[in-house]
Subunit: 152 residues, 2 copies
Amino acid sequence: MNVDSYISGFVDGEGCFCVSFQPSRRHRLGWEIRPSFSVSQNGDRAQLLYEIQKHWGCGFIRPDRSDKTLKFEVRNVRDLVEKALPHFEAFPLLSSKQLDVELFAKICTLIRNGEHRTAQGFEVIVKAAMKMNSSGKRKYTGNEILSSLTAR
Amino acid sequence: MNVDSYISGFVDGEGCFCVSFQPSRRHRLGWEIRPSFSVSQNGDRAQLLYEIQKHWGCGFIRPDRSDKTLKFEVRNVRDLVEKALPHFEAFPLLSSKQLDVELFAKICTLIRNGEHRTAQGFEVIVKAAMKMNSSGKRKYTGNEILSSLTAR
């Protein structure tokens, strides 16, 4: 058994790479960018979440408010860039969800390099994020975000 | 990347080992036993379902009526015993879902050996099946089934 491959297979089914945008007065451009990797599982068989947390050495496990599951989540950008994403470079997803992983990696690297603080970098991030998770719902469209920046 | 381990990780999240019971006049004891292994995925990233089908050399892929997913399913008992279940002996699930796999394997082996045709073997199968998927709904309880056998 190869645990790394096992984790990738599990994440292919259950994992979520997500970048959300939240209006924020504390941020120069008026928006906070929140990248996160998460994977949920029923509480009675959540062993694998603890296995991933131990294996990667990052992230938090907490109950999901919306249902009776536990959620393993990595939100810290440094942990995402240095611990979570290298896993998916070495053991990529076999489904088209890998495209989301690559967009997510691009966004996290831009943030890690501070480029989200410039209007140009921010725009690249918004456009990449809007290509991700095409089946999901978004609170704000890319145009809504980009047309409301509080600085340029 | 180890594809076998990847498949087990994917199945840990998304797979279902299920044994259902259907009243049947064609069966001596009055019940048909239907074991199945299935795993579903959104149609736009169903590559892995075809990968598993090719890898194991069995099963069918079809649209799931209940939603917009595709489902890979193995129902043939010989295929389950000879192709699907050996995978999970070699690459067992890391979560408690492995307990379901072991009960499922026991049931499929009993059926393969024809023991479901005796009241004694049938009872062992019903009792094992009722221990599986404890979070799911069942149409008939074990007692309802066992108290209505048409032969002993």
